[in-house]
């Protein structure tokens, strides 16, 4: 991919999260776009979630259903295959991204096509299906408005739900004007004008497409049905118009029963867009003669998921329904944006999912959190994200110097007499600063604190001295 447009906050891999975050923090337009967008969705979510008096029970139920899926995944996946096949779909199994991409490309060619239209899908972003199609000399066109913007800009999504959240409308106008061949002359940054330009552009694609690629929000084992939840109607076009439909579905998307949708269809729209009801909900079960695509394929994707299942604490990350509520409330995400995380799943959920799906490649992400817990509070499926963050920190690698410092601190703290001596030494050596009350500059690693914060000076008399005096 070439450089992003107009300015990318994409994470340079070598710098890790903190380096990329520093770059993002230096981009005032990005920060104001993010603060405005996340703030707006945050308010809407809180309002509509607060309307339901059984909200907490819905969350508990959803968490229980997802835990059940994780316990019975092989059984449910086979049931899904059986029921979807009986309804006329073809089910494929993909161990990893390469297998899934190869199957999707082969099916597209077999349908006599060189290009596909796409429903917004995190799974296909995860496996980089668009890039694979491009490398094969084929094309995959995004039809979700925000995904279209990101694709035209040759950028990457920075949010699960609103992938172009890092752009404002003026920047979007510029992207359309420069990158969309059929953009109308004199296009303004009026949102209605931008949407109309995209609509006309996409309409031509829908009418000519032979093959569509989608993900799925839910895969119902009991019936073999897939469900796509979207709000622009582009998904409905993709799912009904082309002759061939290929859906790439992570195995964690399974639900045991059709009736389980009742729970998730209340939680998902309220948590993600802050809407009471989802605008376009498409449910299909195999192929239906005379209605919709004739050739229906489902690619069940593992890509690291079954390995995550083996971790008793970490596997709750597989309960995620990609609502993005955790991103919108996260004070870290709000300030860095999604690209700093360097993975298709950003924000708090990304910080626990990415290191598990790609072990060893994102070890700094569990530290990209102040553990404030706002994510856990809003998660509709009650993923205890702070718990998993701490768990991943405890099971991941440590830098040698830090490990030595932590070991020394523990050795002192585990011995009350040493601890008291250390406190006494701190009081003694900080005497020169006591009158001032704080220290403005400390040597490394304290310098990381004093870069923006003063450090208070230990007092002359400790609580212990005071207590001893008064006991006398």
């Amino acid at each position: 991919m070439s450089t992003a447009f107009p300015a990318s906050s994409r994470r340079p891999r070598s710098d890790g999260f903190s380096g990329a975050a520093k770059v993002a923090l230096g981009m005032p337009q990005l920060r104001s776009n993010l603060a405005h967008a996340t703030g707006t969705i945050r308010g809407k979510r809180a309002k509509v979630a607060g309307e339901l008096d059984d909200w907490e029970r819905l969350r508990d139920t959803a968490a229980a259903i997802k835990a059940d899926v994780q316990h019975r995944m092989p059984e449910l996946a086979l049931a899904f295959e059986r029921n979807a096949t009986a309804a006329g779909a073809t089910v494929h199994w993909a161990r990893d991204a390469a297998e899934a991409n190869a199957i999707a490309a082969r099916l597209t060619r077999e349908a006599g096509a060189e290009e596909v239209v796409k429903v917004k899908s995190m799974a296909t972003q995860e496996i980089e299906l668009n890039e694979h199609f491009a490398a094969e000399g084929m094309a995959a066109w995004e039809t979700d408005l925000a995904e279209l913007i990101v694709q035209l800009a040759e950028d990457k999504p920075s949010h699960l739900l609103v992938p172009a959240i890092h752009y404002n409308r003026t920047e979007i106008r510029d992207i359309f004007r420069d990158r969309m061949a059929d953009a109308p002359a004199g296009l303004t940054d009026d949102p209605a004008a931008l949407a109309e330009a995209a609509r006309l552009h996409l309409r031509r694609r829908f009418l000519s497409a032979k093959v569509a690629v989608s993900g799925a929000n839910f895969a119902v084992a009991e019936t073999g049905s897939l469900v796509v939840v979207e709000s622009e109607g582009n998904g409905r076009m993709c799912l009904t118009m082309p002759e061939t439909l290929i859906s790439v579905v992570g195995v964690e998307k399974l639900l045991p029963r059709f009736a389980d949708l009742e729970v998730f269809m209340q939680l998902l729209p309220r948590s993600s867009t802050g809407e009471r009801m989802n605008p376009y909900t498409s449910v299909w079960t195999g192929a239906t003669a005379g209605d919709g695509p004739k050739d229906v394929h489902v690619i069940l994707l593992d890509n690291g998921r079954t390995d995550v299942l083996a971790d008793e604490v970490g596997r709750q990350a597989l309960s995620c329904i990609r609502c993005s509520a955790c991103l919108n409330v996260c004070p870290v995400y709000e300030r860095t944006g999604g690209h700093a995380y360097g993975h298709v799943y950003p924000g708090p959920i990304g910080a626990i999912l990415a290191p598990q799906l790609e072990p060893g490649r994102h070890d700094d992400l569990p530290y990209a959190s102040s553990l404030c817990g706002a994510c856990y509070e809003v998660c509709p499926v009650k993923i205890n994200i702070p718990e998993v963050l701490v768990h991943l920190r405890q099971t991941g690698p440590h830098q040698a110097g830090e490990q030595a410092a932590m070991g020394a601190a523990k050795a002192v703290m585990a011995r009350p007499r040493l601890w008291r001596a250390a406190l006494g030494a701190a009081r003694f050596f900080s005497r020169p600063w006591r009158r001032r009350g704080f220290m403005r500059r400390l040597p490394w690693p304290g310098s990381k604190w004093t870069s923006s914060r003063d450090m208070p000076v230990p007092p002359g008399e400790s609580f212990r001295d005071w207590w001893k005096e008064r006991e006398r």
Binding site: K410, P416, F463
Partner: protein, 231 residues
């Protein structure tokens, strides 16, 4: 008569003797006798949350030994109380966390007192710290105690539920993001025009106060010190 142990926390042990003194003052004013076991050090949260599970477990075991014989342990830290209740069961087993109370929990739920007889004729804004509010579920307990203080004028803190950016070693590992969060918190606190910024955790107040010392804002104060005041 139940035995009450005071856990002052390592941060207060090192930097803020006035806060545990205030806890002693308030509890004694209400007729409780408090004991301070001097062998206490740290609950182990820094190690646990930085990824050092074994070290954390060692410190948690020490805590369990030092405080195991008390009927109640009172601490002026929502964060440390949450550590004992949330993480100890998995870390060392046992149930000592159930007997550890953050001060406002002890006063409201155990002692059943809302008005502790304090007087503090100043404007105060209150920051609900994350671990106290979310992990421990303090809700507005400290605020309810503050509302009952004579002479106090409480001013709402805008975007109060937003983290100040401390997060333990997060403040060092991701210093830039932490500082950006701090600056927003400081700006909101300064904008209230209050004389004091109160909270239930001196670690967070060290962070916010460190920013305030540079760029201005209300004086940081642990709410226990307000409850102890009779000025």
């Amino acid at each position: 008569m139940s035995r009450i142990g005071l856990f002052i926390t390592c941060v207060n042990d090192a930097l803020y003797p006035q806060t545990p003194k205030a806890v002693v003052t308030v509890l004694e004013r209400l007729g409780y006798e408090v004991d301070f076991p001097p062998a206490q050090t740290c609950c182990g949260q820094m190690h646990a949350n930085s990824g050092y599970r074994e070290d954390a477990a060692g410190l948690a075991k020490s805590f369990d030994r030092v405080f195991g014989s008390y009927d109640a342990v009172v601490t002026p830290s929502g964060s440390c109380a949450a550590m004992t209740r949330d993480q100890y069961p998995d870390l060392i087993g046992g149930d000592i966390g159930e007997r550890v109370y953050e001060l406002s929990e002890f006063l409201l739920d155990h002692a059943g007192v809302e008005d502790v007889g304090a007087r503090f004729p100043h404007t105060v804004t209150y920051h609900p710290t994350c671990h106290g509010t979310r992990a421990l579920g303090l809700g507005d307990k400290p605020l309810r105690l503050l509302r009952a203080v004579a002479g106090i004028e409480l001013v709402d803190l805008p975007e109060a539920d937003q983290c100040c950016g401390f997060g333990g070693t997060f403040a060092l590992k991701n210093a830039e993001v932490s500082s950006a969060m701090l600056e927003d918190k400081r700006r909101h606190a300064a904008g209230t025009g209050a004389e004091y910024l109160a909270a239930a955790d001196n670690s967070c107040l060290t962070h916010i106060g460190g920013g305030i010392a540079r760029a201005g804002g209300p004086a940081p104060i642990h709410y226990a010190e307000i409850l102890a005041s009779t000025a």
